[in-house]
Symmetry: C2
Subunit: 174 residues, 2 copies
Amino acid sequence: MPTPDRTSLEEIVAAAWAVLEAEGLAGLTMQAVAVKVGVRAPSLYKRVRDRDALLALVAVAAVDEVARRLEPAATLADIAHAYRAFAHERPQGFRLIQSGGADPASLARASEPVLRIAGDLVGPGDALEAARLVTAWATGFLTMELAGAFRLGGDLDEAFEYGLARLTAALTPA
Amino acid sequence: MPTPDRTSLEEIVAAAWAVLEAEGLAGLTMQAVAVKVGVRAPSLYKRVRDRDALLALVAVAAVDEVARRLEPAATLADIAHAYRAFAHERPQGFRLIQSGGADPASLARASEPVLRIAGDLVGPGDALEAARLVTAWATGFLTMELAGAFRLGGDLDEAFEYGLARLTAALTPA
DNA sequence: ACCTGAACACCGTTCAAGT
DNA sequence: ACCTGAACACCGTTCAAGT
């Protein structure tokens, strides 16, 4: 007689992400995830190959949420602010994305709005490179902000707006 | 009778960094470092508090090497290229720096050349924010490049030069 | 078919005993 | 004073046995 499912892959991924944000990467143990979904650790292996695969699934979920948040953006400023809000609310998810392993389809979906807006500014020929300029800047700024790497004083909100303004100007045709 | 030292903190940090680059973060075990320096794992704890402290020391060593490489830079392009060369040669060290934990003194030394060159371009009032713009862009570009996050084709060397050219123009007074 | 206890391998860390 | 073997705790993972 088959037993009814006591959890699901989606629930496991959501639980893993919650544990990650609450306890950090080292605190994301199979045991902690199992407790959160109400099964024993070995049961997780029915739905996930191993811990690394679970981390990769959380990374995909994180990229998907970024894509969802960026979708309505109409300007570079919209993109930058939505991306920064995500990084502040889910810092561990943001860092996990940067560790690699997110799948190409999700990445493409997340980068679509930036490509569209960048293309409107600089034209199709430079759209990809302009999008990479903006994305790299925002990603680096947030990575450094979360890592506490900006230690020379100054207001970080202002520094973010400064970068955004300079990049927008640099990509706006005269 | 005291036994003669069979290793040193410097040797341990160098060995840990070498293991990190060769085997990745998960392969950086106390046992692997111990084998590399020719002692047993418990002996490492005479010189290092724990594995996290060892990782922090490797991060400091990595930031110090970045500082050393950036020191002779005279232009933003020099900085960008030296930083990228470091990231390509020691990708794990680069990623470790981004994880935080590098100490303020090393960070300040590494950021001095960028501050100086940015200040020459935009003046002292905007030097810090301009330096953060360039540093954030380069850090983000390299993070994404190493993570394999640029999957929409295009030449990455060209994308890097495009960003560098746009940023240099944006920070060069008319 | 999913779930579990038991077991195993591996790793970080401590410590008493050596020199 | 540094070094080591032995031991312990913790975690990822497997698997046979339950339902």
